[in-house]
């Protein structure tokens, strides 16, 4: 049944855990749509013939709907639509919430290519290597204009917005190669901004990682070529430490737990912070990025609004590297709680 409907509706193959969930709702929605247009259409066609005009000045009966009829007219679609909503929103929450143990990959859209950086180790342009049956969280940003990361076979999509990180995740179920398309119009070569995801079996994945680490430096951290950094610091967190020192983060932020002009980086990632407006939030990639780009947006209680913006001074990969660096400074004992960031297993 699944395969037949999949073919009939021209859906691509289902290669992620999300694909199957989305498709079953898809079938339900299509069936209801078809049935209701069939019923409405048949009723209309029957009426056209049954009640065709027989005399030029024919009068008609004064028919009005009873409250009961109008109630049915309202409640029938409402019930179906709410059912779709409930299932759809549950699935949407699923794809918006990466599991704790996801592997992270940074994705940067750029006219007209996709760049992938792994927090430790290799990277790629237009080809994303991931292991099968393991959740992969994508932290997506853009260097220039809006792009949108779309893998039809996984049924996932997320916009790449310059100046901030968005995230989505997937768990690929079968090894193979799947197309990546850009779905947000981004200029002249929008339709050529294609890439692919290569899903590897666990053994192939290990071999690939090993190969990458052995491989020449040109295979590593291509994104970091933008930084003109020394080749030996290929790990993203090490890059981050270096960038942070260069742009002067440590003038105000310590890494040993002592507060200075700004909050310490030690243990910052994943911490619940109370903001000056009384709200509290958990420090994650999005918050750290925002604080670099727009420092005054959410100030942690007790610290003055003195940080300059780094908007336009840091590139996408540099921002990602600093985030990764801060992530390495977390203390193990605070890694609890449902919304805590993923525990990353280093590729080594």
């Amino acid at each position: 049944m699944n395969e037949l409907l999949n073919k009939l509706l021209f859906l691509p193959e289902q290669a992620s855990t999300f694909a199957e969930r989305v498709d079953s709702l898809h079938y339900f929605v299509v069936t209801v749509t078809m049935l209701s247009s069939f019923v409405t259409g048949t009723a209309a066609i029957y009426f056209f013939f049954r009640y065709r005009r027989r005399a030029d000045h024919q009068t008609t009966e004064y028919v009005i709907p009873s409250v009961k009829t109008e109630f049915v007219f309202v409640s029938l679609p409402l019930v179906f639509f709410l059912a779709w909503f409930v299932i759809g929103f549950r699935d949407f929450v699923y794809v918006q919430t990466p599991p704790k143990d996801s592997m992270d990959v940074y994705v940067m859209g750029k006219q007209w290519m996709w760049k992938f950086s792994y927090p430790e180790g290799p990277n790629g342009v237009n080809v994303l290597h991931v292991p099968a049956n393991r959740p992969v969280r994508l932290l997506i940003t853009s260097r220039d204009v809006l792009h949108s990361f779309f893998v039809p076979a996984f049924r996932i999509k997320m916009d790449a917005v310059p100046g901030r990180y968005t995230q989505t995740w997937f768990e690929a179920t079968k090894p193979g190669t799947y197309q990546i398309l850009c779905t947000e119009y981004c200029g002249l070569s929008h339709s050529k901004m294609l890439g692919e995801v290569v899903v590897l079996s666990p053994e192939e994945w290990d071999a690939w990682v090993k190969e990458q680490r052995k491989g020449g430096l040109q295979n590593r951290q291509d994104a970091l070529a933008d930084l003109a950094l020394e080749p030996e610091t290929a790990r993203m967190s090490a890059q981050g430490q270096k960038v942070a020192a260069e742009v002067g983060c440590f003038k105000c932020h310590t890494v040993n737990g002592e507060p200075h002009i700004g909050p310490t980086f030690q243990g910052m990632y994943g911490r619940m912070e109370t903001m000056q407006d009384g709200t509290s939030l958990r420090v994650d990639e999005a918050y750290i990025t925002q604080s670099m780009m727009d420092p005054g947006a959410h100030l942690v209680t007790g610290f003055p609004n003195v940080m300059p913006t780094f908007q336009g001074k840091l590139t996408g990969p540099q921002t990602a590297a600093i985030v990764e660096y801060i992530k390495t400074l977390r203390t193990p004992d605070i890694r609890t709680g449902a919304t805590q960031g993923p525990v990353y297993e280093p590729i080594q």
């Binding site: 859906l11 024919q58 009005i64 679609p77 949108s148 999509k157």
Partner: protein
């Protein structure tokens, strides 16, 4: 107000021409100089001029559409280069939306029919009405000047930061759209004031024709939402020319802010396009079924309901923009309410046919197409609001197919139906029924053939605005282009026999459909001041075809 108090006037009858006065020429021949048309304050002449212009804009937009479809015939380059293609789909969208779909029905038929349906001599502000036509034309000329001198390649949504980075001519086109916005606001204001203040004695709110209800709801959206678009377009122009830094993240701006502001107008704008068509169809289904509207109040209130919740649904355009999950849930539910209100209308239209006396003429053929497009387009709209399904469909051809079905399908069906239904009213001549049905069939078939493959393309994952595409999408694209040719053929046939009918068509009877719509209570074509002699007395609901003996006891279903 009570019918018995007036002894002479027959309820709902065409008043006899007053013999003591001289003959009253129709509005068409009352003054034949060019100046008498261009500077006219007569809502009917303004309506006719709107009709001519929107048809011209439809031709321009349609030509762009065919160029785009032809380009997509093969996976690689076919007839134009990538930059030309990007400009072509942008201009197709801009022209069709701002110059055809938004002004078409309110401008042409709203202007012509609204005062007639309210028993008024004109709209409340005739000079403002003329101004709104000229604002539309000035805006159009500026935009078309920009199209000729460089063109724009952003897509009609003008998403920043691309629209502020591109080197193409964004400013004149956005400025043109800004001016067109004033035209839309002026028309809306005029209709609101006319409906409130110029109803003839006897036309209470619940005796207004449903077309008036639909125009009223549309006008509310036009007046409330259009200013937001105007301002955001100016901001984009400012950002591009003077680097304001409102939307550009490199200057501390927020590109997602643009999307919020843009869709706050542009989502309600969808209802500026479809609500008038709902109004037209309510008139036509009643006239050709010879039946009172089933659930008049439900249909009237659902127009207002759509206008209201339409303002709270814009966030469903941004499910994958990084918006919070909670927001997505709220916008998803609110969007579904639009679907429920539309469903009420659909059910009541089908209910109107029940126990009617159906005459299957060209406007009714368009009603059938409309019913089907609305159900399908509406249901796919709700499917989009289902957040998880939107994730794979967002910005693919499924979106293109969906909004063409609901926005374009419904509007075109209503526009064509309105032309045929009101042709004798406006021009006093009849079109050829046989050709009317042939072209209606071609247009409905062609439309399906064009856009059903696009639903499937979207399922398969083809993103919109693609100049080149992977080869596996080709079959469906060829099918879609073939459908577009059929669609074009249907429109060409219509154009030929309608222009022919304008000159050589059989003279129409005053009310050839025996319709009981209020606009038929005067001569066809109407005289300059709409009514000659005593005004008609409005005692019955519009479209009341009931045998007077049975009228006392409504039959509930």
């Amino acid at each position: 107000m009570s019918p018995s108090s007036s002894t002479e006037a027959v309820p709902g009858a065409v008043p006899a021409p007053d013999e003591h006065h001289e003959h009253h020429p129709s509005y068409l021949v009352d003054g034949t100089t060019v100046k008498s048309w261009l500077l006219t304050l007569d809502h009917k002449r303004i309506g006719v001029m709107y009709l001519i212009w929107v048809l011209l804009f439809f031709l321009i937009g349609g030509t762009y559409a065919l160029v785009v479809r032809l380009e997509l015939l093969t996976p690689g380059p076919t007839i134009i280069d990538a930059m030309t293609y990007n400009r072509a789909f942008t201009m197709h969208g801009v022209v069709m939306i701002f110059l055809f779909m938004i002004p078409a029905i309110p401008g042409a038929f709203g202007n012509f029919m609204l005062p007639l349906m309210l028993g008024a001599k004109d709209v409340a502000f005739p000079r403002l009405n003329l101004l709104s036509l000229y604002l539309l034309l000035i805006g159009a000329m500026i935009a078309i000047w920009g199209m000729i001198n460089g063109g724009m390649d952003t897509g009609w949504t003008f998403y920043t930061p691309y629209s502020t980075h591109t080197t193409t001519t964004v400013a004149p086109i956005l400025f043109g759209a800004f001016i067109i916005g004033f035209s839309s606001i002026a028309t809306g204001l005029n209709f609101i004031v006319t409906t409130h203040t110029m109803r003839a004695p006897g036309i209470t709110w619940f005796k207004m024709p449903l077309f008036v209800w639909a125009m009223y709801a549309t006008a509310c959206i036009q007046v409330l939402a259009t200013p937001v678009l105007g301002l955001v377009l100016l901001l984009v122009v400012g950002e591009q020319l003077f680097h304001f830094g409102i939307f550009d993240p490199a200057r501390g701006g927020d590109p997602v802010l643009f999307q919020h502001l843009f869709w706050f107008y542009s989502h309600p704008a969808v209802y500026i396009m479809v609500l008038p068509s709902f109004g037209v169809m309510s008139e036509i289904v009643a006239a050709f079924s010879r039946k009172n509207i089933f659930g008049y109040r439900a249909v009237a209130f659902s127009s207002l309901g759509i206008a209201f919740v339409g303002f709270f649904a814009w966030g469903h355009h941004m499910f994958v923009s990084g918006q919070s999950t909670f927001n997505a849930g709220v916008f998803a539910v609110l969007t579904m309410l639009v679907g429920v209100f539309t469903a009420i209308k659909v059910f009541n239209w089908v209910g109107t046919v029940y126990k009617g006396a159906v005459d299957f003429k060209t406007p009714f053929a368009y009603f059938c197409g409309f019913l089907y497009f609305t159900v399908f387009g509406g249901m796919t709209g709700v499917a989009f609001a289902t957040a998880s399904l939107d994730v794979p469909w967002h910005d693919t051809y499924f979106v293109v197919a969906h909004f063409h079905f609901i926005m374009v399908g419904a509007t075109i069906m209503a526009f064509m139906a309105a032309i045929h239904y009101w042709f004798p009213k406006m021009f006093g001549r009849m079109y050829h029924e046989g050709w009317g049905l042939v072209s209606a069939a071609l247009i409905i078939l062609g439309f399906n053939a064009t856009f059903i493959p696009q639903f499937l393309l979207g399922n398969a994952g083809m993103p919109r605005r693609y100049y080149e595409y992977p080869e596996r999408f080709q079959t469906l694209n060829v099918a879609s282009t073939a459908g577009a040719s059929l669609l074009a053929l249907g429109f060409i046939i219509s154009a030929i026999y309608l222009v022919y009918a304008l000159v050589y068509g059989e003279k129409a009877a005053s009310n050839p459909w025996h319709s009981k719509g209020y606009e038929w209570l005067t001569e066809s074509p109407p005289p300059t001041h709409n009514f000659v002699g005593p005004q008609p007395i409005y005692t019955e609901e519009p479209h009341f075809y009931v045998d007077p003996e049975k009228a006392e006891e409504p039959y509930e279903v």
